[in-house]
């Protein structure tokens, strides 16, 4: 045998487009609205394998709602959804600016991804629990969590419900079905499965929803969550928000050789599907379907939301260093707010005038709330909770060594 051995080389995937390149999404296959059918909720995972490679879409280019996933929401509900997304966008704009003005240390916006958390929230019931990442504040906005409290948390002021201990935007509200955001990646995906298992163990009727980004699906905890969800048929909806970018790393680094993130569910026997994350109606319809499956004891569902992170990863990030500035506008699934607005106008339930007016009203409300929060204090002006607070709540009862340390620190 004289087989010639050639040196091996390492495959490091690259995104299609870097700064200076012209974005090209021509090989990104987008099915027509209505093309992907709606299976019964008790469908077997194997029978919908193709759904992990397609995309559920409801709104077409003309703003019409098409197909089996359409028709679940009334015009009133849709207007409410639009209001939530507009609120989140206005809120983000003001808070990002507040960070730039030195009023807080850090901020993370949702630009382009508003439909996902805002629509999903409307598919759950009171008592259900989300285990969100840092880009799902729509889950709070859409269940009327007080905006003032969110701002107080962002400013770490005297009314911050977390007493200045946690980073801005890492909200917590059990009452609003919003688990405490850790800031670690992937860890909470598996906790959502545990919470759902607890509901089943207790004979309860509540369900959980786990959230993870495309990049963090590479974490071991993603695998752990899938195994446990699959084994115990946990009543949980497992959500992957694929916004194409994990800070500066394009989704292909985490995805590897598999075609889509949703396809990861196949190895676990979990019904898995992709949805247009910029289509409010599609997100809501798929979330409802998955929530019903969980609630009826049919087990977990894996959903990949195909979207685009139109802004930076956080206030500390500058995307122009690693991706084309035109990529966001070239993104073929459009903007979620524009698309819902177009739909409402198309069905005669909205107008440009009403939209402009709503935007102005919402911005006024956000600004008024911001003034109120800033009158309480901001991290920038130093009106923050007492250092005494850092010693509280490490344990339910403060152990002697912490009492001593607190006294040593002078509090």
């Amino acid at each position: 045998m004289s087989e010639e051995l050639r040196p091996l080389s390492l495959n490091v995937p690259e995104p299609g487009c870097r700064p200076g390149d012209t974005p090209d999404f021509s090989d990104f296959e987008i099915p027509r609205a209505g093309e992907v059918l709606r299976p019964p909720v008790d469908v077997a995972a194997d029978d919908i394998r193709d759904m992990a490679f397609s995309i559920v879409r409801v709104l077409n280019k003309e703003g019409q709602a098409i197909g089996e996933w359409a028709g679940a929401m009334t015009p009133d509900e849709l207007r409410t959804g639009l209001r939530h997304m507009l609120t989140l966008r206005a809120f983000d704009k003001r808070m990002l600016m507040a960070q730039r003005q030195g009023k807080t240390s850090f901020y993370m916006q949702h630009l382009g991804e508003e439909a996902i958390s805002c629509a999903f929230a409307r598919a759950l019931r009171p008592g259900d629990m989300n285990f969100p990442t840092y880009r799902q504040a729509g889950l709070l906005v859409a269940v009327d969590y007080p905006m003032l409290t969110m701002m107080n948390q962002i400013y770490s002021n005297a009314d911050d419900p977390l007493h200045g201990r946690q980073l801005p935007i890492m909200y917590t509200s059990k009452e609003h079905g919003f688990f405490s955001i850790s800031g670690n990646l992937g860890t909470q995906f598996v906790q959502s499965v545990g919470w759902a298992m607890a509901s089943a163990i207790s004979g309860d009727t509540k369900i959980a929803a786990g959230w993870i980004g495309d990049g963090s699906t590479a974490e071991s905890d993603f695998h752990a969550a899938m195994v446990f969800a699959s084994t115990y048929k946990a009543p949980v909806v497992l959500n992957i928000v694929n916004n194409q970018w994990a800070i500066s790393t394009f989704q292909g680094i985490a995805r590897g050789g598999v075609g889509t993130f949703a396809a990861r569910g196949h190895g676990f026997g979990i019904p898995s599907l992709r949805v247009d994350g910029n289509d409010y109606l599609a997100v809501h319809a798929v979330a409802k379907w998955a929530a019903e499956r969980a609630r009826r004891g049919l087990g977990p569902t894996l959903i990949e939301y195909v979207t685009y992170r139109a802004g930076g990863h956080s206030s500390s990030d500058d995307p122009s260093a690693y991706r084309s500035g035109e990529e966001a506008s070239a993104w073929p699934l459009g903007d979620p707010i524009k698309r819902l607005k177009q739909h409402l106008i198309a069905i005669g339930e909205w107008s440009e005038e009403r939209h402009t007016q709503a935007e102005a009203e919402i911005m006024d409300e956000v600004i008024a709330t911001q003034k109120q929060a800033e009158s309480i204090g901001t991290l920038g002006d130093g009106k923050v909770p007492s250092p005494r607070d850092m010693f509280e709540g490490v344990y339910e009862t403060m152990p002697p060594h912490l009492v001593r340390q607190r006294q040593q620190a002078g509090y």
Partner: protein, 334 residues
């Protein structure tokens, strides 16, 4: 009662008293655990309260955190302490921090049990004592019993505790009191006073050490298996040592420690874990800070060596009575 039976009994008492107590881990359900600590619980309480888990420690702890946040009280087993590292992120970044970062909106009443320490020829993957990796983390409690009665009482206290507890079980002590010598016959727990485990739900409070041997000349701080080594060393050297079984490492019963060292003026610290940055380093610092002017001699640490836990050389790694005895003699010379 053996320590295994005592641990099983504690589970039984807690599960009978409170439906929210759920037990799971690798091989924990049908079989009852590789050390049989959960034997019979699935049969008695059903599969949804005692069940087998996939081999995924971060998944076991991660799901347990979700369950605790829901309102259950998970008592989970990591098959060997050496296997806990995949779960370290969940323990450190999640379980330990949940109360603080959410201002108690969510809490994590969770017990993570794990067989610990060497003495069964387990080699480097079934012998470790990782207590210092947990005492270093704010928000955790860390417990290590040395006998069946304490194992039951401390486990019940841990289950009742509102915060996450790392419960380390010295596996060398599971089946019989280890009298400090690996090459001498064991007495069984049946013939040992501490094998007499009280019935019912009596707890042993966390944060309270116990003086297991009264003495006037030197204080020996020990926990788990090392309590017996310390006692054997004291007996064999004739040094009038006071042996303190710490029982809970976090929160630590500093009062009992300082009272004893201030009385004896000497201190030897013993643990099986590796030496550098071991829990003994913290104990030594505390004793120095609290008792410096009472000390007659430098404090000595006797610990495992800074090597992986070896297989064939297990008993040369293990800080046995000869090494502890030598330390007692040395500390008495000053």
């Amino acid at each position: 009662m053996t320590m295994i039976e005592a641990i099983r009994d504690a589970h039984d008492v807690a599960m009978a008293a409170d439906d929210r107590v759920v037990v799971f881990g690798e091989d924990v359900g049908f079989f009852g655990g590789v050390f049989r600590c959960t034997a019979g619980l699935q049969e008695k309480y059903g599969k949804s309260r005692c069940f087998d888990a996939p081999i995924n420690e971060s998944g076991i702890v991660g799901t347990a955190i979700g369950m605790a946040a829901y309102g259950l009280k998970p008592v989970i087993e990591i098959q060997f302490a050496d296997y806990v590292y995949p779960a370290y992120d969940q323990i450190v970044s999640e379980a330990a921090r949940l109360r603080h970062r959410s201002n108690a909106d969510f809490t994590c009443p969770l017990v993570i049990r794990m067989p610990t320490g060497g003495g069964i020829f387990g080699g480097q993957t079934h012998s470790q004592s990782p207590e210092a990796l947990f005492t270093h983390v704010s928000g955790l409690k860390v417990v290590m019993p040395s006998n069946p009665a304490d194992a039951k009482g401390l486990l019940l206290a841990s289950i009742a505790d509102p915060d996450p507890v790392i419960f380390l079980e010295p596996k060398r002590l599971y089946n019989g009191p280890f009298d400090g010598h690996h090459d001498k016959p064991l007495t069984t727990w049946k013939k040992h006073a501490e094998g007499d485990v009280p019935e019912g739900d009596e707890i042993v409070p966390l944060g309270k050490a116990k003086v297991t041997r009264k003495g006037a000349d030197v204080t020996v701080l020990a926990y788990g298996t090392m309590v017996y080594v310390a006692e054997a060393a004291a007996k064999e050297t004739g040094v009038d040592a006071e042996v303190i079984d710490l029982r809970t490492l976090m929160p630590l019963d500093l009062e009992t420690i300082t009272a004893s060292v201030q009385k004896t003026g000497r201190c030897v610290i013993v643990h099986e874990a590796t030496r550098t940055c071991g829990f003994g380093a913290e104990l030594l610092s505390l004793v120095q800070e609290e008792c410096f002017y009472h000390l007659e001699a430098p404090i000595i640490r006797v610990t495992g060596w800074d090597t992986p836990y070896p297989h064939a050389q297990e008993w040369q790694y293990f800080p046995g009575p000869a090494r502890v005895g030598e330390a007692l003699n040395t500390v008495m010379e000053d």
